[in-house]
């Protein structure tokens, strides 16, 4: 796992400062985030099980503790 993902996100205040450093305009940033999210959802489509309805219906467990 890359080091930067371990970086501590502590207080919300610090996170606000972090985003302030980004130089792109808010609208561009919004576009970029939306693009990333779209890519992620497309990626998820590729790994999702087929026949959602049957799949979910067939997931039945015996009760445990």
């Amino acid at each position: 796992m890359p080091e930067q993902q371990r970086k501590q996100r502590s207080t919300p205040k610090e996170r606000v400062e972090e985003t302030d450093e980004v130089t792109t305009a808010p609208s561009e940033r919004g576009e970029k985030l939306k693009g990333e999210l779209d890519d992620l959802l497309d990626e998820i489509d590729e790994v999702l099980e087929e026949n959602a309805e049957d799949f979910v219906k067939s997931y039945v467990q015996k009760g445990g503790q």
Partner: protein, 503 residues
């Protein structure tokens, strides 16, 4: 008086055998373990098991240890964990850990063990068949399976004190421990999405049961340690977490709260003008009230008539914990490094829950899952009742790295990790250094054939010729790396080890 918060997590994974006509879950679970452990499987020593013993002081007649009823395949791993079949589920019990961060690593290592087991099980299956496991707590059809935490607690603490302060604790901590779930079950009011996988399944306040009429506070009294000195608090009111921050907070905050109860800190604070306790009127329905409200604003009634939201009750516990840390220190709860981080993150999470819970995407499971489902449903114009939304919920918990939606989010850099993958992989074979798990794991790593059986508080060795030797391990903080590394390095055989220990 507070004792060190040795802790562990047991997870019953959901399991399916795909591509088979007879999808027997016990068989599927067995295949995982048999596939993972090719050679020597270590037996479990049931000598000290007594799940029918009640912390309130009775032994239920005819109560059979559930492990004995259902134990089919069992093994103990070199990392000190127990891996076995329980109630038609594969169960992974982490080794005993000394603090919340160590336990996050051990819990994540369990996911990796299950992932490898799924691959290994393929060798035992017909082509086209696959065993798949899910780290969740419900099948969405009214069947639940548990993720239990365990904490070492001072035997001298009256159990009633634990109950008094833990009922409101378990009701309100759901705001950060919840695994997130689409819909409701078990007769609960309909809801699109709720915080917890488990909340709908609690029907009693206090009790011994774990599989039906589940109580918020479980009274099973099996210390797995010196019973004169210790209890093991067996917590069944928690969700399986994938987010490391959620596991860290769940364990870290509960450890501090337990230390405060042991040190009578609530009572001391009440003397100084604080509330005596935070007892909630009707904690069972309150579990659902809190879980069913994703805004985290719903209030519950306290026994003194006040109405507070779960987050407000959490603030009160946090303020007390901060005071406790100032006055007593956190040496028993992971020290400044871990305990201090728990307090800082706890505060940050409560602040965020109060202002905008969605900012905790990537830290808490329920928020992360909700954000993902929302985005997906919005893109495709799906309603909450759409099977695809239910599938996303289920597949968030898929333990196969290439199918897990949680894992997709990690890879996309959207989830905060507290561990490195290197330490997680190491923890699949190496035991935590600072508990007796190190001794158990060390014996298994060095002399697998000599370990006839083990359990949490003893290990049975075959040293050749003589009767089997049982080594008691009644003190969870003895047998650490610091204690036994030198011993291990200076003995060549299990017989020598036993001779040295008894001399």
């Amino acid at each position: 008086m507070a004792v060190p918060k040795v802790c562990g997590i047991e997870t019953e994974y959901g399991v399916v055998l795909r591509g088979a006509a007879d999808a027997n879950p016990v068989l599927a679970s067995s295949m995982l373990i048999n596939g993972y452990v090719e050679h020597h499987k270590v037996g479990w020593d049931f000598e000290d098991e007594s799940p029918g013993r009640d912390a309130r002081g009775s032994l239920r007649e005819g109560a059979q240890p559930p492990e004995i009823e259902t134990h089919l395949v069992n093994t103990v791993l070199t990392n000190g964990a127990r891996y076995y079949v329980d109630h038609a589920h594969p169960e992974y019990s982490t080794p005993e850990c000394a603090d919340a961060l160590e336990l996050v690593v051990a819990d994540k290592a369990g996911e990796r063990v299950l992932a490898r087991s799924m691959l290994a099980a393929r060798r035992l299956l017909e082509p086209g068949q696959e065993v798949v496991v899910y780290k969740n707590n419900s099948d969405g059809k009214g069947n639940s399976y548990g993720t239990h935490e365990n904490y070492l607690v001072d035997r001298a603490v009256p159990f009633a004190n634990l109950v008094r302060h833990l009922l409101p604790w378990f009701v309100t901590r759901q705001v950060f421990t919840g695994g997130g779930k689409v819909g409701s079950e078990n007769g609960a009011a309909p809801v699109d999405f709720q915080l917890s996988q488990r909340a709908d399944f609690f029907e009693e306040e206090v009790g011994l049961e774990t599989t039906l009429k589940r109580p918020i506070v479980n009274t099973r009294d099996e210390p797995h340690a010196d019973p004169q000195l210790y209890r093991r608090l067996h917590v069944i009111a928690g969700d399986a977490n994938l987010c490391e921050v959620a596991t860290f907070l769940k364990v870290g905050t509960t450890a501090i709260v337990l230390a405060m109860i042991e040190d009578d800190f609530f009572e001391a604070a009440a003397g100084a003008g604080g509330r005596k306790d935070y007892s909630i009127v009707g904690p069972v329905p309150a579990m659902r009230t809190v879980s069913h409200d994703t805004t985290c604003k719903a209030t519950v009634e306290l026994s003194d008539g006040a109405r507070m939201s779960a987050v407000e009750v959490q603030w009160e516990y946090l303020r007390l914990a901060q005071k406790y840390a100032d006055e007593t220190g956190l040496a028993l709860c992971g020290g400044e490094l871990v305990g201090g981080d728990v307090l800082r993150r706890w505060e940050a999470v409560l602040t965020a829950l109060e202002t905008d819970p969605s900012t905790l995407d990537g830290q808490l499971d329920w928020v992360t899952k909700l954000a993902l489902l929302d985005a997906y449903a919005q893109r495709d114009g799906l309603s909450w009742g759409d099977p695809k939304v239910a599938l996303l919920d289920l597949q968030y918990h898929d333990v196969r790295p290439d199918r897990s939606l949680y894992e997709r989010l990690v890879r996309a850099g959207k989830v905060e990790r507290l561990t490195t993958e290197e330490e997680v992989v190491a923890a699949t074979t190496e035991a935590p250094v600072s508990t007796r798990a190190w001794f158990r794991g060390g014996c298994l790593a060095r002399w697998p054939e000599a370990v006839v059986a083990a359990n949490w508080d003893s290990i049975i060795l075959d040293v050749g010729g003589d009767p089997l030797k049982r080594i008691p391990m009644m003190e969870p903080l003895r047998g650490t790396k610091a204690h036994v590394e030198h011993l291990f390095d200076t003995v060549a055989t299990p017989a020598e080890l036993v001779a040295r220990l008894s001399s």
